[in-house]
């Protein structure tokens, strides 16, 4: 076939298909009937359906009913055991440092409490709102009810949102605007967000031994059970004045209460979180993870129009250039792997040339915004991590650069909150109207080869056609590469 104008040829083909395609009367009748039935059912449901009440769902659910009954039976058995005269000398003793492992191993996690909003003056009542997190780590399902707030001269406005994943779709519910939107989850996103949500639990409870010093300050009996009281205090300047108090059972490793406080400008303390329910490995009713929009809420889209979100840890852009940091990983040796993309919005040239002849451990591709270095946050020490090319992936014509950043000086073992990206525009010397600034979180810490395979290679596969990941990107190879580069820097 001789092709003079491919665009016109395909357009003619499409026009011919459009002209010729006709539905059949049988199908039309079936579709109209089914659609009318669906519409009428939906109308009836909306007029009859009250707003969902999670607690009613839980209490009514047969699994929960069984759990409640079982709890009573277990309590009776424990009671009998305590009175049979035997003494168990080898009791498991859990301390605060055991908590991360217990929660990492948990199949399900549930937490409920109240989050308090800051006030600037002493004596003022702090308003609060309920927060509740459900996480099913095995099936990639979660339901997070959380507040946000904005403040102006008229005071603080509180917004409540919910993110619910059924393992396939994530539904975002804005209870303030009464709107609902959906996005699809790729298998990797399911794993990644489950991991991040578990991390959120630790953040809310301030369970982070890099950031907080803990001491046991006492013991208290609550409803017949003994709990050790642990207090934690922020280590560095950013967390100075932050305090956490937990009631942890030394026999089960369960929390009875958690309270957190933050420092006010006048030196007083503001309440931050009050958590009175933390559960591990409970059976969670499936209804908790239903992604059905509440009645009377406006749908921004539906599952039919929901798309997979591109992984993103932050993005910026203007008319000239875009920069999207897709994901960041911190390796055990302190080096950082980052996947990012940048597009020149004033050019329609493909980026293929920029990714030709790149060397592993060599200079980065000269993207429109080239992240040649990163600096860590908090930036107490002015330490620069220099970027080297590791690999690239391509998905549907778009290129993703995977760079490795290595500190130029020896780094102190303090905790890293995130990284500030340092970039230059290419071609160099190019005038860009606005400075792009981006800081990314550093919660993804790679511990071993298994983490690397799941998260680093998983992310690369997610941003690659057919899940292709360059073979040389392995845990051992990357550590070997960073070791060599560090040696060359030292010399």
């Amino acid at each position: 076939m001789k092709i003079d104008n491919i665009e016109k040829l395909i357009k003619d083909f499409c026009a011919a298909v459009k002209t010729d395609v006709k539905t059949t009367i049988e199908r039309d009748t079936q579709i109209i009937n089914d659609a009318t039935t669906a519409h009428e059912k939906s109308k009836k449901k909306q007029s009859a359906e009250p707003a969902p009440n999670i607690w009613r769902i839980i209490v009514k659910h047969r699994i929960t009913k069984f759990a409640v009954a079982a709890g009573i039976i277990i309590a009776v058995l424990v009671g009998i055991n305590q009175f049979d005269g035997s003494i168990d000398l080898v009791k498991q003793a859990y301390g605060i440092t055991d908590v991360p492992e217990l929660f990492q191993a948990a199949r399900t996690i549930h937490m409920k409490g109240r989050m308090y909003f800051p006030v600037s003056e002493p004596g003022k009542e702090q308003s609060s709102v309920e927060v509740e997190y459900w996480l099913d780590t095995q099936n990639g399902r979660w339901r997070l009810t959380y507040p946000g707030y904005s403040g102006d001269n008229e005071g603080i406005k509180i917004h409540v949102s919910e993110n619910i994943s059924d393992g396939q779709y994530e539904m975002h519910v804005n209870h303030t605007n009464k709107t609902v939107s959906f996005s699809k989850l790729s298998p990797f996103q399911k794993k990644l967000f489950t991991h991040k949500n578990r991390y959120t639990f630790f953040q809310l409870m301030y369970i982070n031994f890099d950031l907080f010093d803990y001491i046991k300050v006492g013991r208290e009996v609550i409803e017949g059970a003994t709990f050790d009281i642990w207090e934690g205090f922020g280590k560095d300047s950013l967390r100075s004045g932050m305090k956490v108090k937990t009631w942890l059972s030394p026999t089960t490793g369960d929390f009875a209460r958690i309270r957190t406080w933050g420092l006010r400008e006048d030196g007083g303390m503001n309440k931050q979180m009050k958590i009175d329910l933390v559960q591990r490995d409970i059976e969670i009713p499936d209804e908790i993870f239903l992604t059905e929009a509440p009645a009377a809420y406006v749908l921004e889209n539906t599952k039919d129009t929901a798309t997979e979100r591109e992984l993103s840890n932050g993005s910026v852009g203007n008319d000239s250039v875009s920069l999207n940091c897709h994901i960041v990983f911190t390796m055990p040796d302190g080096s950082v792997i980052m996947g990012y993309s940048s597009e020149d919005r004033q050019s329609d040239q493909p980026q293929t040339m920029l990714f030709e002849d790149l060397k592993i451990g060599g200079p980065l591709p000269q993207l429109a915004a080239e992240v040649y270095a990163i600096k860590r946050i908090p930036t107490d020490e002015d330490i620069t991590y220099r970027g080297y090319h590791l690999a690239y992936t391509q998905k549907a014509g778009k290129f993703y650069e995977w760079s490795i950043y290595i500190p130029e000086q020896k780094t102190a073992p303090e905790a890293v909150l995130g990284y500030q990206l340092v970039h230059r525009y290419n071609p160099q010397g190019r005038e860009i109207n606005a400075e792009l600034s981006i800081a990314v979180a550093a919660e993804l810490k790679i511990q071993d080869a298994q983490d690397f395979a799941v998260f680093v290679r998983g992310a690369m596969a997610d941003l690659s056609d057919n899940g292709y990941v360059p073979e040389h990107v392995t845990y051992e190879n990357v550590l070997d590469l960073t070791g060599k580069i560090k040696s060359s820097i030292t010399q």
Binding site: M1, K2, I3, I6, E7, L9, I10, K11, D12, F13, C14, A15, A16, V17, K18, T19, D20, V21, K22, T23, R27, D28, Q30, I31, I32, D34, A35, T36, A38, H39, E40, K41, S42, K43, Q46, T179, S183, A293, A296, Y297, V298, L299, E300, T302, D304, T305, A306, T307, E308, R309, E310, S322, E343, R345, D348, P350, A396, G397, K398, D465
Partner: protein
């Protein structure tokens, strides 16, 4: 656009006749798109059925940010995309590598040379789904790149790249056939 808003308003008020009017207005566009994307009439008919029934179910609560036509076309494209992923996974499991093409002849072949139409259909089927979708949405459904980008949650640059690379690949495929 104004007529569509009126139809949706009537539908929300309970006039089921509006549902039929919307269906009659867009049914052939939706079916043509579904056939072009799926390359299979039976699958395409099922897709249009499911999309329209789903639209009817949620219409009362839907806030349309784009035109009704764009919304319905996007629903069709997304549903075919989901099906194509399932099919792709099934194919991988069966370790089959051949491209999925249908032997069914569409009436388009009566408007163009039948052989040319077959070649174009085969060439389109060999593109990645993302590239094929952008080309079909732009050239068949007259959707602008910006609208496609919004519905697919990608940048306009990505959509334009997919379009450009897709057309380049089509040209190469059709040219190489001509040389053979």
């Amino acid at each position: 656009m104004l007529e569509d808003r009126l139809l949706v308003w009537k539908l929300k008020r309970g006039e089921t006749g509006a549902l039929q009017t919307i269906y009659e207005k867009y049914k052939n566009d939706l079916l043509a798109l579904a056939i072009a994307l799926s390359n299979d009439r039976s699958t395409a008919e099922d897709v249009v059925h499911d999309v329209f029934v789903s639209f009817a179910e949620f219409a009362d609560r839907l806030r349309l940010r784009v035109s009704l036509r764009s919304y319905l076309l996007t629903c069709v494209a997304n549903r075919v995309r989901n099906l194509s992923k399932t099919k792709h996974r099934q194919l991988l499991q069966l370790t089959k590598t051949e491209t999925i093409t249908s032997d069914e002849h569409t009436p388009a072949e009566s408007a163009m040379s039948a052989e040319n139409a077959r070649r174009i259909r085969t060439a389109l089927a060999r593109l990645s789904y993302e590239q094929r979708e952008v080309i079909i949405l732009h050239l068949m459904s007259d959707m602008r790149f910006r609208a496609i980008a919004e519905t697919q949650s990608v940048s306009i640059g990505t959509v334009q790249s997919r379009y450009r690379y897709g057309l380049d690949k089509l040209r190469t495929l059709l040219d190489s056939e001509a040389e053979e």
